[in-house]
């Protein structure tokens, strides 16, 4: 029998949720364990669990204390959470078009200056990476990506912007992101995608799932306008690859 993995911490989040924490930092191995536990709980549900929310380093498990207590739930989760990770299965990959720079990526030039290089070089590094959706949060469809090229790691803006556009593609710290709705942000805005990761009356409503892989490719601003109209009408635009 394969050795079990070190147990996660069970952090009480009030009387109706528990954060199953695998790491205190952003760590791809911890995120894999989060997603594996999430999958395992979906495959064989524990009675009383109402909803799970994967994040970078922990799985927040919402439950009904009228059906299961904190202690009883912990006893059921721990053996599952310490199982060796299942072999990697085929991941879904999204190819996402991005109009970089100009009005759509107002920080691209500043990021290039700060890193002593050209905007084209920043774009080249941004499209070269293979990203993974580590979590979705903050606002609907806001996909937090791991896998940002180390040379693009830089601290967030001193002054967060109160409003950044829908579809913003940005970087912040060691993370990259796809933002769906207009929202405040302290990240650096590199471009915009016409792809809606959340669109209410489209099937599917939510495009990305935690665990999906993502790559970006550059489009010109005219293509952005065309694809943006098509996306508004309900087209998915993003290309799906099963790899």
């Amino acid at each position: 029998m394969a050795a079990t993995l070190p147990p996660p911490r069970l952090l009480p989040s009030g009387d109706s949720a528990v954060a199953v924490e695998f790491s205190r930092t952003i760590d791809d191995a911890a995120n894999q364990r989060v997603l594996a536990l999430d999958k395992a709980l979906a495959a064989s549900p524990i009675d009383g669990i109402t909803e799970t929310v994967p994040t970078y380093r922990s799985l927040l498990v919402h439950y009904d204390p009228g059906r299961i207590s904190f202690d009883a739930l912990g006893e059921k989760i721990l053996p599952i959470a310490t199982q060796p990770l299942p072999p990697v299965t085929k991941a879904r990959r999204w190819r996402i078009p991005v109009a970089y720079g100009g009005e759509h990526g107002i920080d691209l030039e500043d990021v290039a200056k700060a890193l002593n290089t050209t905007p084209d070089d920043i774009v080249a590094r941004h499209v070269a990476a293979d990203y993974k959706v580590a979590m979705i949060g903050f606002t609907p469809g806001w996909s937090y990506l791991s896998g940002l090229d180390k040379s693009l790691h830089m601290s967030r803006r001193q002054n967060p912007r109160l409003l950044t556009p829908a579809g913003t593609i940005s970087i912040g710290g060691i993370q990259a992101g796809i933002q769906c709705l207009a929202a405040p942000s302290g990240w650096h805005l590199l471009g915009r995608t016409p792809v809606r990761t959340y669109q209410l009356h489209r099937n599917p409503t939510f495009l990305t799932e935690p665990g999906d892989h993502v790559t970006f490719f550059a489009i010109d601003h005219k293509t952005f306008e065309e694809q943006d109209r098509a996306a508004e009408a309900g087209e998915i635009i993003a290309e799906q690859v099963v790899a």
Binding site: L11, P12, S13, G14, D15, S16, A17, A19, E21, R24, T25, I26, D38, T50, E51, T52, V53, P54, T55, Y56, R57, S58, L60, H62, P65, G66, S69, F70, D71, M135, I136, G137, F138, T139, P140, G141, W142, Y144, L181, A183, Y198, L200, T205, F206, P210
Partner: protein, 345 residues
């Protein structure tokens, strides 16, 4: 079908229900009523499911007019003066507006949110099983935004059922109870004690997303940036300036500030109904106690129908009357507590 027209209404008023569950993993905010017990009480009075959609009315006054027929409604939550065409209406009672009659609600006298439930419920298009307004994401029905004067609801014509009142237990008082964590280890003992032993006030800049707490600055052990993780209703996060924020129903599904404690389910509504500027304290309880209270809270909502009484039985609530007078409000006996003086014909 009748219509209920919003003749006038203040800010922070919207359609709310039990919330939008099941899609927090996609970043979809839950929303829902700030005070679930009051929502359930109003709904129970008119025969609706306890967490059906109702109008959540913010601290200011509001008026509603029945059109094209009679409309039966009920009010519960933050107490206010209320009347229908000059006839006083007590809190926690149902009342029928005849065609063209207007229900007038005054300012909240203590608390913030009052719920107006409509017999037969609010008609709309649910998204993820909910009509709750989430203005930021453009969700909610029939209006995906806070209510405005001129909005109207298509509603069932009043059934003519006899009017009811709810005999509610005296509301809980005392400190707002919390369970420490999930990140209480990001704070040293002195700062945890400072959080638990200090008097707090809710800032006037609070909203359905979060209640900002005014009091001493709480310091972190290792700085205020943690890796984002999931949030719940009542998560108390401490940002860089040390001023805690209790996350409420319109919270983001994840957040990146350390969370020192979490308000217990049974007390989230009480916190929601704490007026800006009112001093209060927190008290840490064990997980076992918090879960016991959560079960009792769920039972209290389920058993509301057992507390329904005929509205024409007079029950003079001396305690409520005296509380109201001590608080210095000029109130008549008719709007303080559960005394219903007029029986409907």
């Amino acid at each position: 079908m009748s219509r209920l027209v919003v003749a006038s209404i203040g800010p922070a008023s919207s359609v709310q229900d039990g919330g939008r569950l099941g899609a927090q993993r996609y970043g979809l905010t839950v929303s829902g009523a700030m005070d679930r017990l009051a929502l359930a009480a109003a709904n129970t009075l008119v025969g609706n499911e306890p967490l059906a959609a109702a109008v959540e009315i913010g601290p200011f006054g509001a008026t509603f007019t029945a059109r094209d027929g009679a409309v039966r409604v009920a009010i519960s939550g933050a107490p206010r003066n209320a009347d229908v065409a000059g006839r006083p209406v007590a809190m926690d009672t149902s009342v029928t507006l005849k065609d063209s009659e207007t229900l007038t609600l005054g300012f909240a006298r203590g608390g913030a949110f009052t719920y107006l439930a409509i017999e037969g419920g609010i008609k709309g298009e649910p998204v993820f099983g909910s009509l709750a307004v989430n203005a930021r994401a453009g969700l909610g029905s029939p209006y995906p935004r806070p209510l405005q004067a001129g909005d109207e609801f298509s509603v069932d014509a009043a059934t003519g059922a006899p009017e009811l009142r709810l005999e509610l237990p005296k509301p809980a008082s005392g400190p707002i109870r919390v369970v420490l964590g999930p990140q209480d280890d990001e704070f040293d003992d002195a700062n945890k004690a400072l959080f638990l032993d200090s008097e707090w006030k809710i800032s006037a800049t609070s909203d359905r997303m979060g209640y900002r707490l005014e009091g001493p600055a709480i310091k972190h052990l290792h700085g205020h940036n943690i890796v984002s993780d999931g949030t719940v209703n009542g998560s108390i996060q401490v940002p860089g300036n040390g001023a805690p924020i209790a996350l409420m129903m319109d919270r983001g599904t994840s957040g990146g500030y350390p969370k020192i404690a979490t308000v217990i389910t049974a007390d989230v509504g009480r916190l929601a109904q704490t007026s800006a500027g009112t001093a209060f304290r927190f008290k840490a309880v064990s997980m076992a106690e918090a879960q016991d209270e959560a079960r009792k809270f769920a039972q209290a909502i389920r058993s509301l129908p057992d507390r329904l009484r005929s509205a024409d039985t007079v029950a003079l609530n001396i305690e409520a009357l005296s509380d109201a007078n001590v608080a210095g409000y000029a109130v008549s006996a008719m709007d303080a507590g559960t005394w219903q003086v007029t029986a409907e014909p």
